[in-house]
């Protein structure tokens, strides 16, 4: 194993339409949400105080969108290498409640050469085990 090659994303080895290995997380718990509140500093009560969340019209506390985005980034990092990611975009499409199982998916949508570098584009999504969409995303990584 050469040191450089372990970090590089091989442009020739990636094809448009390639799917990332699916990443599935166990059911989300309130403890998971509280742990992310502590690590991120997002103490919005909607995410940890059930009474507050219900008064605001939600059935329960729900995960921060950025927590789901963080979970999804594991798929991108494992696939492309965290150090090769040059763009990561997420759009929140639904709430994640305690008990939801998250399934992260990705597919290569483009390969291109621009600015003297090789780029790989991917479309991403997170769905619950029931099939509800909670996040849609995009990523771009630099390859060689």
């Amino acid at each position: 194993m050469t040191l450089a090659s372990s970090a590089a994303l091989e442009f020739s080895a990636i094809q448009v339409g390639d799917a990332a290995p699916e990443v599935r997380f166990p059911a989300i718990t309130i403890t998971d949400i509280v742990r992310y509140a502590g690590s991120s500093g997002d103490f919005t009560p909607l995410h940890h105080d059930p009474v507050y969340a219900q008064k605001a019209g939600y059935k329960d506390v729900f995960a921060m969108g950025m927590m789901t985005a963080g979970y999804l980034s594991k798929l991108v990092g494992d696939w492309f290498g965290p150090e090769n990611i040059r763009r990561y975009k997420v759009r929140f499409t639904g709430q994640v409640y305690p008990g939801d199982t998250l399934i992260c998916k990705g597919v290569v949508t483009g390969k291109r050469e621009a600015d003297g570098q090789k780029w790989v584009d991917a479309a991403l999504e997170v769905v619950t085990a029931e099939g509800a969409s909670v996040l849609a995303g995009e990523a771009t990584a630099v390859a060689r």
Binding site: L3, A4, S6, A7, F25, D32, R35, Y36, G38, S39, S40, G41, D42, A56, G57, Y58, K59, M64, G65, M66, M67, A69, G70, Y71, S73, K74, V76, G77, D78, G81, P82, E83, I85, R86, R87, Y88, K89, V90, R91, F92, Q95
Partner: protein, 159 residues
């Protein structure tokens, strides 16, 4: 009411210290145990100076605000009602990997405020902010774009 005249306003940030221990804590909280987030030797074998920050790591940067200070509140400046805010979109653009030991400066600009009719009735107002992070050499290392939505009406139960 959103104040369109605050569009274009700049909010200077504070120095942000990218710390190894915080990266490990954050990586665990997103259930990502990739060694490049916690093992310096694994990071060095991949040509990195130190452990690398996960893509969304900057979300924790506000925790470094000194006691007694408040983070810049762009949405408050824009006149948004905190109780009706939803996070719509978030985008991170990287010009190089961010690693432990980086000290970054930032500046946030309220880039745009737009309105549209919500699917469930009521006007939705959207605020787009753009934060540029630069390193000690003055090079841009990351641009973060954040879209916040102010709902016009309360969500239905279970929504």
């Amino acid at each position: 009411m959103a104040k369109r005249d605050s569009v274009g306003k700049e909010f200077p940030g504070r120095e942000w210290y990218v710390e190894r221990g915080k990266i490990i804590e954050f990586a665990k909280s997103i259930r990502d145990l990739n060694p490049v987030y916690w093992d310096q030797e694994a990071a060095k074998r991949r040509g990195l100076a130190d452990v690398v920050a996960p893509p969304t790591f900057v979300m924790c940067s506000g925790l470094q605000s000194p006691p007694g200070t408040r983070g810049m509140n762009v949405v408050e400046e824009a006149g948004f009602d905190q109780r009706r805010i939803l996070h719509g979109e978030q985008e991170f653009e990287f010009f190089r990997p961010i690693v432990a030991g980086d000290v970054l400066n930032s500046s946030t600009r309220l880039a745009d405020i737009t309105e549209r009719e919500g699917k469930r009735g009521g006007k939705m107002t959207m605020a787009l902010t753009e934060t540029v992070y630069t390193d000690k050499e003055g090079q841009t290392v990351m641009i973060v774009r954040n879209l916040l939505i102010e709902r016009g009406v309360a969500p239905s139960a279970g929504g």
